[in-house]
């Protein structure tokens, strides 16, 4: 079994995302530790990118703030090493874009992930057809490369799900990341298509911010991913985000656990 799958052993998984280095890496470390203690099952650590085309304005601005504060991939790895001293086994994911990985060196990047016990990587601009750019390095270092499916994937779902590792990231809505009032995609039929070919855990992301939405999504999927809503808290509270983030993570985990 993949290491990532551990995140789905504790009931429905709550998967928060934060942008590393927003407002600084000391706060990021504090937030990871806080979220891990308060109901997160897998934490996505975002390596900021100058031009994150799959992100809405909230995460775009967080990325730019993080880069402006001098955050680099190496400094993020150092911060994760510190986190690992306190949380040696907690499931951790890295989410970033292909260019920061490619330019760092796919081999060097994944070797570092293995060394740090990173369980999986999420790279939204690597679709199924381009997996070979990255998958061999992930395989070599035992890091799951997470596959995504979207509302337009339709006949592609089975092809993608059949080869998916770790968990399958189900994009709830068209467009970019960001808080949405309503999610009107037929999530149930997306998940049913997955289930025809695979037992892989599924997690739904994009647009989820309220406990009600999370509860609703957790009816169909094995996990719920929340990014922009948390990043928005960080934008508002800066270095003092730990307390409000803790409260939010607890609420969300409680909501999805009601299923």
């Amino acid at each position: 079994m993949s290491k990532t799958a551990k995140a789905f052993e504790n009931g429905k998984a709550f998967i928060p995302f934060i942008t590393a280095g927003d407002p600084d890496l000391k706060t990021t470390k504090e937030l990871i530790l806080t979220m891990a203690e308060n109901g997160a099952d897998l934490i996505e650590i975002g390596i900021p990118f100058s031009d994150p085309v799959a992100e809405g304005i909230v995460i775009q601005q967080a990325d730019l703030r993080a880069l402006a504060s001098g955050t680099t991939t190496d400094k993020i790895f150092d911060m994760i090493a510190e986190v690992r001293q306190e949380l040696p086994y907690f499931p951790l994911a890295i989410m970033t874009y292909m260019n920061p990985v490619f330019v760092y060196g796919c081999e060097k990047f994944m070797a570092k992930c293995e060394q740090l016990g990173i369980d999986c990587v999420i790279v939204p601009d690597i679709p199924y057809e381009e997996k070979q750019e990255l998958a061999p390095y992930c395989d070599k270092h035992g890091v799951d490369l997470i596959s995504l499916i979207a509302p337009t994937s339709e006949e592609r779902i089975k092809m993608i799900a059949a080869e998916a590792q770790g968990f399958l990231y189900c994009v709830s809505s068209m467009g970019v990341t960001g808080v949405r009032k309503e999610i009107d995609t037929d999530i149930e039929s997306m998940i049913n298509s997955v289930r025809e070919v695979s037992n892989i855990p599924t997690a739904i992301g994009f647009g989820i911010s309220t406990p009600d939405q999370a509860r609703q999504m957790a009816k169909y999927a094995d996990g719920v991913i929340v990014g922009s809503a948390i990043v928005r808290i960080c934008a508002q509270h800066g270095k003092y985000s730990a307390e409000p983030v803790k409260k939010y993570v607890r609420e969300m985990k409680a909501a999805i656990s009601e299923n």
């Binding site: 085309v53 260019n99 490619f102 330019v103 199924y128 057809e129 070979q132 994937s153 068209m174």
Partner: protein, 394 residues
């Protein structure tokens, strides 16, 4: 499996959300590209609406003044809307209509591609929205009004560096938001497959015409073809037919801004490294961590941190050469061509003219050089005046 590769470059590095759209586009393009009816309609638009074939003009005064190669100008500036951009746009909007789309979106730098897209949308009855960096809407204010006049909605993009790269980001984001009725009319030979191929095919009319016109006038092929390169659409259009003709030197002129050694430049071929961004593997101006660099050029149309994947491959294979041209050199060429031939070139095209001023005197008088004059310079007059310290407002 990966598609649309040029050597190691190209590919389809887009989020899953867009894969359906790029696959649908590829299928439609394969269906229509050799369809006689589609081509008849496109050719009719090119000749009766755009004004093709564009002239191949012998620049006699310039030739005599420089004392070397015989210089011809491919007059894409005479194309309707004032640049080569319409060649691609007419093809793509026609294709979008065949696909049942009712709305087109596009990025624009200098505004030439935005104006062309707004024009084709008006002609073919499509809804149109254009994304343009805030900085570019300021330096090309006239083109913003022009697009609005043509019925398009123009969005000033305030994210990132507020230039062409950010306009592309924002158009891609909007496309993921609404793919079912919307086609993204990408303006250059960049982005995910099939765009670099589609745009190149629609622009290759430039080199097809150059070849035929020059055979008629001179009975031979050119010795050198020069074009400016941002993403690279006019250059690939001017080069494409000549790629198998090894005797023809292909020279892309990229924007070096304040100089290749100054941080304020956009010379991707000189300074860029291999990366994966905007849907493609290619060369990009970026830092050691793969963060895309905030590039600079006086020319909004060349102010882009990457280059199309086919150009990256032409560089790797050595089939084409790429040279940097500074703001100063481009402005001098802008003024030179205006005074010498009575033709005001776009500041983008002036980069190619600038290199011609250096190269032509080194060539023999029996050699022929073709400069692709990709656009006209009316849009740049106020900016060049300001560059020269003349306080003119549009």
């Amino acid at each position: 499996m990966s598609k649309g590769r040029f050597g190691i470059h190209g590919g389809q590095f887009v989020p899953e959300t867009l894969m359906h759209a790029v696959n649908e586009l590829e299928e439609a393009y394969n269906k229509y590209k050799d369809d006689p009816e589609f081509n008849a309609e496109l050719n009719k638009l090119l000749s009766e609406y755009a004004g093709r074939p564009s002239l191949l003009y012998y620049a006699e005064k310039m030739t005599k003044d420089l004392g070397g190669a015989k210089i011809y100008l491919k007059r894409e500036d005479l194309n309707h809307t004032g640049s080569h951009k319409l060649n691609n746009v007419l093809g793509q909007v026609l294709l979008a209509k065949r696909m049942g789309k009712t709305r087109v979106i596009a990025e624009t730098g200098a505004g030439q591609h935005g104006v062309a897209t707004a024009t084709a949308a008006a002609l073919m009855g499509m809804e149109c929205e254009i994304y343009m960096g805030k900085e570019d809407t300021d330096r090309q204010a006239l083109n913003v009004y022009r697009m609005e006049l043509l019925g398009a909605k123009v969005h000033a993009v305030t994210s990132g560096t507020q230039t062409l790269k950010d306009a592309v980001n924002e158009t891609m984001r909007e496309w993921t938001n609404r793919v079912s009725d919307t086609h993204y009319v990408l303006g250059s030979v960049m982005g995910p497959h099939p765009f670099p191929t589609i745009v190149r095919d629609f622009q290759s009319v430039i080199s097809k015409e150059i070849k035929q016109q020059l055979l008629e006038k001179e009975g031979k092929l050119p010795d050198a073809v020069l074009a400016c390169v941002g993403g690279g659409s006019n250059a690939i259009g001017a080069f494409y037919e000549f790629i198998p003709e090894k005797s023809v030197r292909l020279i892309g002129c990229e924007a070096a801004g304040l100089g290749v050694d100054n941080p304020k430049n956009a010379a991707t071929m000189a300074n860029g490294t291999l990366g994966i961004f905007h849907g493609m593997k290619s060369y990009f101006c970026q830092n050691e961590y793969g963060q895309i660099a905030p590039v600079y050029s006086i020319s909004a149309g060349l102010d882009y941190p990457g280059v199309g994947p086919e150009h990256a491959n032409l560089k790797d294979t050595g089939r084409a050469e790429y040279v940097p041209v500074t703001d100063n050199e481009a402005v001098a060429a802008f003024e030179y061509l205006s005074r010498t031939e009575g033709i005001i070139p776009a500041i983008e095209s002036s980069h190619a003219v600038a290199y011609a001023l250096k190269l032509a005197p080194q060539m023999n008088q029996n050699e022929i050089m073709v400069i692709n004059l990709s656009g006209r310079g009316d849009k740049d007059v106020a900016a060049i005046a300001r560059y020269r310290g003349v306080d003119i407002y549009e």
